[in-house]
């Protein structure tokens, strides 16, 4: 299987797992899911399955280790005098912290080793070159198991949650194995908490008719986004990003917009498929997107795009750092120096910087990804700094912040900033990104539209038309969702003839207008490579 959208997955693997899951008695159903998950992982990464198995076993062990320490502490707390309790708690907290540190270093260490060794080695070689040191290290080629960036974060969140006593460690290895390796989410998330999915995964409830139909609907919606739009845009994006120096700024803008659109359609489409698949097994996975292109600020955009990653960074990096003693002290000092608005922002900036450097690096080992992270750090920090001043300015200019005009301006501004960021993200290296940006600004022209160049990049007028129609459909559904109107529930309430007609129309639309078969190269699962 090459992706969730491969024929083998959609027509063979998934139906087989669903059938077997329902044939087996309730207590064996989680085992069916786990075996299915490991077969899926094996088909993608082969022997690298050992990475997942190792992570699963180690997380299980570390969780129990922490819980044992907590139980031991609780027992001793009952036996000691009140005056000694604080000291005892401190002692056990230290012990637990050591275990957490070990667990986090182990998992993040594997991720760093597998994902970043070539990047670090390359940069060390460059540094040696600059310093005239005649040493060149071999750049290792390390095979990366699918989804390691996702399940590692789940492992880390489990360790932290046990440490924080939000959950207690599970002795049930099957549960942890399913939490780590559940096949729909292993490749591109969403990044779940143990408390969100582990129990429901092991309940083994039979697939309900409603779950099946709603799940399939969601899968089809995801296929519409991925196969009709993301794959159709692939040719143009590849042509322009690979040969950016040959095109004027107008074309670069089109390619950057198309890439942002492709990224959204690919990733959110995959999430639709993932969430729909889980729904068939009665598992409710957290949403990863909430109409991001309706955001008024970049900060809001990131609370609507890849939501589970944002929450992970917020809960496990931003808040712990902000609440740490050194940063609290910094806030107090900064308040005195620069006032109540900017003061807290100083410590916040440190935490925000850490979040965005991690965010950039999580997406890939490359300077353009680091730049991508820093770009958003600067935008969000600037937004936070100027917020009260902007508010005052708007008041003076009598601009209504909740008015349609300002709202539209804010949304368009955010989209433009996001598109620029994504262009750097997709560019073949930071230098290429800079060059494209420069070209966009200094060499902007609409000549390529009037002379027909735009139609020679891998998409003809009909391709643009189909993309436009599909994007309009997705847009309408998104607007309704934004207004809390559920299209799916609306359809479900209609009579059978209308309902089935809509389903047939959707399937036939994908079959006919999907960019697959001869002449098309489907886009690889973009987020699976992060």
């Amino acid at each position: 299987m090459s992706s969730f959208f491969s024929i083998l997955y959609v027509l063979v693997f998934l139906p087989s797992v669903v059938i077997l899951y329902n044939i087996f008695p309730k207590k064996y159903r989680p085992i069916v899911l786990l075996v299915g998950s490991y077969i899926f992982f094996w088909s993608m990464s082969g022997k690298l399955l050992v990475y997942l198995l190792f992570s699963t076993l180690s997380v299980h062990h570390i969780g129990l280790w922490l819980t044992n320490l907590q139980s031991e502490r609780n027992l001793k707390l009952k036996e000691v005098e009140k005056s000694e309790k604080k000291e005892l708690k401190g002692l056990y907290q230290k012990k637990q912290r050591r275990v957490v540190l070990f667990g986090v270093l182990l998992h993040i260490g594997i991720l760093l080793a597998v994902k970043y060794t070539p990047f670090f080695t390359e940069n060390i070689n460059s540094l040696f070159g600059v310093l005239n040191i005649p040493i060149t290290l071999d750049i290792p080629k390390i095979m990366m198991p699918i989804g390691i960036s996702f399940y590692t974060l789940q492992a880390v969140s489990y360790i932290f949650d046990v440490y924080r006593e939000i959950i207690s460690a599970d002795r049930n290895l099957l549960k942890i194995a399913l939490y780590m390796g559940f096949f729909p989410q292993i490749m591109e998330g969403p990044i779940c908490r143990y408390s969100e999915t582990a129990h429901i995964l092991c309940e083994g409830e039979r697939t309900s008719y409603q779950g099946l139909t709603m799940g399939i609907q969601r899968i089809l919606y995801g296929m519409l986004k991925k196969i009709v739009v993301a794959d159709r845009l692939n040719s143009l994006i590849k042509t322009v990003f690979d040969n950016y120096s040959q095109y004027d700024g107008g074309i670069i803008v089109v390619a950057a917009v198309c890439y942002t659109l492709q990224l959204y359609m690919e990733f959110s489409g995959t999430m639709d498929l993932v969430i729909g698949t889980a729904q068939i097994f009665n598992v409710k996975l957290p949403e990863n997107f909430r109409q991001p292109f309706f955001s008024k600020t970049v900060s809001e955009f990131w609370s609507r795009w890849h939501i589970t990653l944002g929450i992970f960074f917020k809960d496990y990096i931003f808040y712990p750092l902000s609440m740490s003693k050194p940063l609290k002290k910094l806030t107090t000092k900064a308040r005195k120096l620069v006032g109540n608005h900017l003061g807290p922002l100083v410590a916040g900036a440190v935490a925000l910087f850490c979040v965005w450097i991690c965010n950039g690096l999580w997406h890939g080992a490359g300077w353009n990804y680091i730049f991508f992270g820093m770009y958003h750090f600067v935008l969000i920090l600037t937004g936070n700094i100027v917020e009260p001043y902007a508010k005052k300015l708007l008041e003076r200019l009598h601009v209504k912040k909740k008015g349609v005009a300002y709202h539209t301006f804010s949304v368009v501004r955010t989209v433009i900033l996001v598109v620029i960021g994504e262009m750097f993200f997709r560019a073949n290296g930071l230098r290429a990104g800079m060059s494209m940006f420069k070209n966009m600004i200094t060499n902007f022209s609409l000549a390529s539209f009037s002379d027909g160049t735009i139609l020679t990049l891998g998409m003809d007028a009909q391709d643009f038309m189909i993309v436009g129609i599909t994007v309009a459909i997705v847009m309408v559904i998104s607007i309704l969702k934004e207004k809390d109107v559920s299209v799916r529930e609306g359809i479900a309430k209609r009579n059978l003839v209308l309902r089935w007609s809509i389903y047939y129309a959707l399937i036939i639309f994908i079959v006919i207008f999907g960019a697959y078969g001869r002449g098309y190269v489907p886009v690889d699962p973009i987020y699976a490579n992060f």
Binding site: M1, S2, S6, I7, L8, L11, V12, Y209, L212, D460, Q462, W500, Y503, Y504, I507, I508, V511, I512, F513, G514, G517, R518, G519
Partner: protein
Amino acid sequence: MKCLKQILRCAVFLAGLVLILTVLHPIFAPKNNSEGSGIEDVSANGILSEKKNSIDVLVLGDSLSHTAISPMMLYKDYGITSYLCGSYGQYMYDTLRYLEQAFENQSPKIVLLETDTLYRRFNVTDAIASSIQCEFPVFRYHDRWKDITASDFKGDINYTCINDYKGYRGKDIVNGIPNPQYMVPTDKIDDISTLNQYYMNEIVKFCKEKNAELILVSTPSVLNCNYERHNGIQEIADKYGLEYVDMNLLAEEVPIDWEKDTRDKGDHLNHEGAKKVTSYLGKYLEDKNVLTDHRGDKEYAQWDDSLAIYMEKIETVFVGTNE
């Protein structure tokens, strides 16, 4: 009861979907086999325009087949009517599809399978996709939505494009390689993948049902042939009781000069190499005494017209590619 009702409802929905996909096929199917009609591989599908039951020898395989065997030469020298349904990078599932398609309108007595395709690996997904495309051709030709006109809804199909080279795609480029030693005897066997074996079995079964003799042919190729593969193919030939002609081992009968007769350093033959292969193959087929010499037969007048064009464009003023 409720569960049964739900299963029944799913079955009805799927049946409706199958019906819609079937109804869509005549709309999306290419209405001709010409360039621009939207049909895949115009050259290999040229057989669709051939007169019913006029082809005696069908050749299948990947690019090694359509660069090494010239059907018009077989007609000119032996009166054998053959068609080459070889295509670039042909996989065994494509081979089976072309075979089945050819027999819808033709009854070849002999089927030649160029063996390079037996070592062309593919995965289960590709095989399933191919099967689905065979059952519901709308998946193969869905992209024709861009060219669909009102006449497509009538569904009238008329294959009018006669391929004068009968699927041959020779080139006169010379890009040689000095004295390659690529057929070093060994007992080792290059195993044929399970999927390819499955399709081989299907092809053998199909040919038996149609009373056509299936012959395995390895045309000379330095890059694609070796003794391990020869052994693997021989094993398959023995298993099914098929004749196997490995021209890589017939240096005297097929005297390929690798400095002159290849167009890409031993990967494919050029026209001169193809002439040597076809000459040997013609004699081999003639010796079987099962094929009729159609030269001079009024029913095959079109072949004479194609031969004239072939001679004019290929034999006398060969200019690069003739695809």
